[in-house]
């Protein structure tokens, strides 16, 4: 395992971003910088053994040598490792939530050699007039993003594109509300398991012009759609192919535009309501997907304030500091 060094400080923390399909470890210095970074495929659904032994083995394989060299380093983890299917369950904390409330409700897990890891909880948003919503992992990324800029901590909208995209409202340094959109999963199940995927070729790509036109057509349909329109508009992915209005290679881009467009239509209406005078709009997530969302937001006339990289290590550092395991960064 090769370490990738970004910093020259002294190690004070091992931070684990432990999701469903992957595990990432960060050796961090006293300023919150990353000294070394590693990744393994041992997400909580892909462990080397079942049960607690699988978590222990994945943990030891990823960073046993770091801890052999520095036995006293505290270890923290966030993400699905704290879910009901994780190593130990750290139940959701309610909004408003920040690094401190995460630390106050974190869960300890004991490793066989006597070491303890502190696992961050997820966050529950439970509005009186709508169904509850949950996140697990994103709250850590947000804590990291807010540590980067006090203006964002004061008030911001954080958009986190993905399988289950999150649109998060931040005020006074806290997560005050959020909405999950199943955009990425809808795209995947419709492409792979519905009639809509039948006309999409397994190979071949659309020209950049065709791709852009199909994506824009989907975005426009979503923006102009009336309430309840989506189950009907989805079918156009098929009819635009059947009638050869779009080339087969471009059909998935229409579907992508339609689904992202629905997410943006609802989310931008929310931002106009919550922040009539505007607010910073931050994008956090996979770089390619964030570029796609940035194009869609531009098409909708919205401006992205900043597109952030991986803010999870910085967020885990904030969590560890709030829990008193390390001194807060200066």
């Amino acid at each position: 395992m090769t370490d990738h060094f970004d910093s020259t400080g002294s190690p004070v923390l091992v931070a684990l971003d432990w999701g469903t399909s992957s595990l990432r470890g960060f050796l961090m210095d006293e300023a919150g910088g990353v000294l070394a970074e590693r990744a393994s495929p041992h997400g909580i659904q892909h462990l080397p053994h079942p049960g607690a032994a699988g978590f222990e083995a994945a943990f030891a394989a990823l960073c046993g040598d770091w801890l052999a060299a520095c036995p006293d380093l505290p270890v923290v983890a966030g993400g699905m490792v704290g879910s009901a299917q994780g190593w130990v369950e750290a139940p959701y904390v309610p909004c408003p939530a920040d690094a401190r409330s995460l630390a106050d409700h974190a869960a300890w897990v004991e490793v066989a050699d006597g070491r303890r890891l502190l696992i961050a909880p997820g966050v529950l948003y439970d509005p009186p007039d709508a169904a509850p919503d949950v996140m697990r992992g994103e709250e850590v990324q947000i804590a990291g993003a807010l540590a980067e800029n006090p203006a964002w901590a004061a008030s911001a909208c954080v958009a986190m594109p993905g399988t289950h995209s999150k649109w998060v409202r931040v005020a006074d340094g806290k997560i005050v509300g959020f909405a999950t959109h199943m955009t990425g999963e809808l795209f995947a199940v419709l492409k792979n398991h519905s009639l809509l995927g039948r006309l999409m070729p397994a190979e071949g790509v659309a020209s950049p012009q065709d791709e852009a036109a199909a994506f824009a057509l989907g975005l426009d349909a979503a923006r102009d759609g009336e309430p309840g329109a989506l189950p009907h508009q989805l079918f156009a992915t098929r009819t635009l192919g059947l009638t050869r209005r779009l080339p087969p290679e471009a059909l998935s881009h229409y579907l992508s535009g339609l689904l992202i467009g629905h997410e943006l239509t609802a989310s931008l209406a929310m931002t106009r309501r919550v922040w009539p005078n505007g607010a910073p709009l931050l994008l956090i997530g996979d770089a390619g997907l964030c570029r796609r969302y940035a194009r869609a937001l531009d098409h909708f006339g919205a401006t992205v304030t900043a597109q952030l990289g991986n803010t999870a290590p910085r967020g885990l550092f904030q969590f560890a500091a709030a829990a008193g395991l390390i001194a807060a960064a200066p």
Copy 2:
């Protein structure tokens, strides 16, 4: 194969309702009554042999004896048998469409013994301001429904719940426009292939009260949703389970209510626009699914004029008459 006799007239027509997953045959009398009815599993995706031989074998197995007894009977067919994946392709005819325009654009297919079958085309709706839409099979059912009542032929809305629900506008005896909603397929792929299905138990049913409450909760969410809301509202199927607001057995009923509710929200807005003074609303489809839609329509304050049984044989009779293969019913 046992025949089921409903009538005592003389046979004048063999009519085939030939879909993706099943084949139904009807021996019909001169008044459009059904003398005998048979079904086989040989839908166009489940034929006994590949290619044309499969269609011939399925046809001969279903009604070879009818035609041995009455060799001169004309034979007509409707449904996916006329699609690009069918026996012969009968390309879509544009709206406005009726039994006559179907007959004018029907396709003949030759059987090995020299017999010919007339296959009905599907219908294309191609509005200037939206994506095109298509149907294949429903147009025959509608022709049958309109033959039952002149008032419906003058002006009606026909709702056909299913995997791909259709909402059809009828005026002056013709299909003038329609919209397909992927409601049934969305429900199936989300239940079987997405995270939403994970909390739904494979066995066990909700109490009638829990089922009704969950269904109504989904309907209300759809009715009150803003444009673009569905990708977010779907996630509540998970969070209502995670937070134990709904019992696991009721989660699928929330999802069903949410999706049907979106279809109804868009479709009832269309009916209010097209028929500000109201119009007959007909339901055609699977009896259990029609009951579920009737409950949902009642919840939305809409009144169903009539719920019809299988109108396909009557529609195939109208198609055969328009094609001059039989005398029109008196």
